[in-house]
Amino acid sequence: MLPFIAKRTTTLVTAVVVSSFAVFLIPYFTPGDPVRKIIRSRVNGDVVDDASVQSLSLSLGLQDPLMLQYFRWLGRMASGDMGLSHVSRTAVAEQVLPALAVTLSLVVFSLGLAVLVSLPLGIAAGLRPGRATDKVITTVTQSFIAMPEYWVAPLLVLVFALKLSVLPSAGWAGPASMVLPAVTLALRPISYFTSAVRSGILEASAAEHVPAARARGLSQAQAVLRHVVPNGLVPLSTLFAVWFAGLLGGSVIVEVIFAVPGMGRLLFNAVINSDVPLAQGGVVVVVALAVTVTTLADFVHRLLSPTVEGSYA
């Protein structure tokens, strides 16, 4: 167990350093002057005077060598200080932590919804392979993959906010405002989760211990509940973790359309505006959380399927 924890800790530190450095470099390897981008994010105008560029560059230390700037940030991070945002001039932690709380709520709600929907569908499809139930469930859920969020989100707003007036069209004020963004985000995971559960059920059904259980006197339903379903859910835990990690910073479109003040929108704006401290702070938190969640998922996977224990060595 200790080697596993050490290995994962190393992975975490490496991922944080690599990703924060990559984010740090983005403004310098994309077209346009980073300082002018910062100014334009504060002042929405075309003309940026050179004196302002120079004085801001000086006050933010952006004229220093790149590596010096990076290690200065790393030093501050080591003492728990994420620094100040270039654009908002407020503490990065004060922006990242509320955004993280919002995104976590949204992701947990949407993936929870996805699990609730996909579990019965996947089990039903997996227990009746090739039959009408399986075909309908597979066809419908697979179609969700082809529904992009920028199409689904306005459609849901049109129906539930504009036509039926039962849900808010946007904002983040209470559970009702969470429904439409969560449903939008849940559609594609529903598709993948259902497919994974179906495959898991099919595989578990074909295992030798199922007929053996039936031979020991268990009914078909008992055999399915005790031996097929638990084993069929193993792939879901890994897939859940992967989606969880992905959605932490990857729900930009949904967050913009529904005006959700989450991590995706925050990171997107930070990168667009060359707000390096904010982007780095956000990425560090997202990466750390993603590595932690996938590590936990591995533990769960191990509990559900002891045969994969060796892979953690």
């Binding site: 334009r40 003309v47 808010p168 069209s169 946007a170």
Partner: protein, 518 residues
């Protein structure tokens, strides 16, 4: 059996979604009655298109949010209806010498923290903006030398050169006045330190600003109990919110949402000419566009009417020149140039242009519609024998090449009044020989002379006449091609009363803004 179960599942999901929304009061508001009465217990929701930046620093666009929220006020303000600068926190002003303006502070005004507005507090506030690291566009040390308190009620503003535009500069939101307690070192705290009709009480970062009525407002009774200004960057979302009644006023509605709002009950769409014109910049300093005949031929090849009707769906008007016709400095009214393909071909032939020199249009990607605009221009120019390639770029990526003169044409847009309610800054920066933002690389001695003279002319009518003359030179020389004048479009619920649209979105919540009872 299976289909029954499936139906039940679907019904359950729909029921769940419906129940989840039961607590939401997003229903339709009352339809506008003949004579609605203001209900002073009402609050209002405004969807704004930008969120605060720079920790509310007044040199940044955060000043616009404080101003439209009815918190921040300035010494003067610009009345669009009258087309002139009018008193606000200053009761009157006078030019005391060629380089000095004296402003008399309005008596009886207190900040929201209870401290009185004095000449000293005004001078301190203005000097704070002058010392900002990133210069305020309208109010910085290049045009203002300093601000001093002459006595308890008089503030003197000094300029390095004679400028008739000082009262205009003091109408800029960047020159807003906050109480001395708002300034603590490099940070700024506007909460409770404004003079306006609304007091900001709380902010949810990147989401909203909540305000309450200022019971002691110097400008009279405030008609609303409070307000919430939401920061919604997505235009379609702002449109949806005013349609559902979640918002009472939504600013800057995108073209794509206009048809839905035009037909929506209880919503009124307000439009005004904006100071923003979609422009085809041409590189006047590089062949073949350094030839005025080639530039004129390109202008004659374009069908601006079709462009406005198709891409902009009628939400923008074909441009008649560098200014919108409704601007007081637009000069004599004229029609938008009409497409004349034969004249265009003749000019091209006379200039010696041949199709073996294709041209490139850079379309900036920040404006989604420019991809379609560029395609229309490409077709128009193809018809007169000019092959055009289109390159989509972020503005930041295009700017260095454009400023250096390494381009043919740039499809972009520009706000003429982004600093002050006078086009001098725009005409100087964009088209004078030494202009700091001369994307066209245009240079004309007569034009420079007119603009310089205008900058020294105190009489507004005379100044506007010179602007019009300068604009005519730009049109005659086809320095750029002004394609369409965009409109400022706001959507307002019909139970909102006393709302006066400001095309620059500086004044939205005022003491007169009201809402009828629901």
């Amino acid at each position: 059996m299976l289909s029954v179960n499936r139906s039940r599942t679907i019904m359950c999901v729909v029921a769940l979604l419906t129940l989840s929304g039961c607590g939401f009061s997003g229903g339709q508001g009352e339809s506008g009655s003949a004579a609605p009465a203001a209900d002073t217990s009402q609050r209002i929701v405004v969807d704004n298109f930008r969120a605060p930046v720079a920790d509310w620093a007044l040199e940044s666009d955060a000043a616009y949010i404080l101003s439209l929220s009815g918190c921040l006020e300035t010494l003067t303000s610009y009345d669009h209806a009258k087309g002139e600068v009018v008193p606000m926190l200053a009761a009157k002003w006078t030019q005391s010498s060629s380089l000095q303006w004296d402003f008399t502070i309005r008596e009886g005004v207190t900040f929201q923290d209870g401290t009185p507005l004095t000449a000293e507090s005004v001078a301190a506030a203005l000097n704070h903006v002058l010392d900002a690291t990133v210069r305020a566009r309208a109010f910085n040390r290049t045009m203002i030398s300093g601000v001093t308190a002459l006595d308890a009620n008089t503030v003197r503003v000094s300029t390095p050169t004679e400028s008739p535009l000082v009262p205009y500069r003091l109408a800029s939101v960047n020159a807003g006045i906050l109480a001395p307690a708002a300034y603590k070192g490099a940070t700024l705290n506007p909460f409770g330190h404004c003079t306006g009709p609304f007091v900001p009480v709380s902010e949810v970062s990147q989401q909203s600003l909540t305000l309450k009525r200022n019971e002691d407002y110097w400008g009279g009774d405030v008609q609303l109990a409070g307000a919430e200004v939401r920061f919604i960057t997505n235009g379609a979302t702002r449109a949806a919110q005013v349609q559902t009644g979640e918002a009472d006023i939504s600013l800057s509605i995108p073209v794509a949402s206009l048809s839905a709002l035009d037909s929506a009950a209880d919503v009124k769409v307000l439009k005004k000419d904006s100071a923003r014109t979609a422009t085809l910049y041409m590189n006047n300093g590089k062949a073949p566009l350094n030839d005025v005949d080639v530039r004129t031929a390109i202008r004659k090849a374009l069908d601006l009417d079709a462009l406005a009707a198709s891409v902009y769906e009628g939400a923008a008007a074909p441009a008649t020149g560098v200014f919108a016709p409704s601007e007081p400095w637009a000069g004599e009214s004229k029609d938008a140039p009409k497409q004349d393909l034969d004249a265009a071909r003749k000019l091209l032939k006379d200039s010696g242009y041949t199709a073996d020199r294709p041209l490139e249009i850079i379309a900036i990607v920040e404006r989604a519609e420019f991809a379609d605009v560029a395609a229309v221009l490409q077709e128009n120019l193809k018809a007169v024998g000019i092959p055009v390639t289109i390159q989509a770029k972020e503005y930041a990526a295009a700017e260095p090449d454009v400023l250096a003169g390494n381009y043919d044409m740039l499809l972009s847009q520009r706000n003429r009044l982004i600093d002050i309610a006078d086009p001098l800054g725009f005409l100087t920066a964009d088209y004078t020989c030494s202009g700091s933002y001369n994307l066209s690389h245009f240079c004309d001695a007569e034009y420079d002379r007119l603009v310089t003279e205008a900058g020294r002319t105190a009489d507004a009518d005379e100044r506007y006449r010179r602007y019009a003359e300068a604009g005519n030179i730009l049109t005659d020389k086809a320095a750029s091609i002004w394609l369409v004048n965009e409109q400022a479009t706001d959507a307002v619920r019909t139970n909102v009363l006393g709302y006066v649209q400001d095309p620059l979105s500086r004044y939205v919540l005022t003491a007169q803004t009201a809402k009828s009872g629901s």
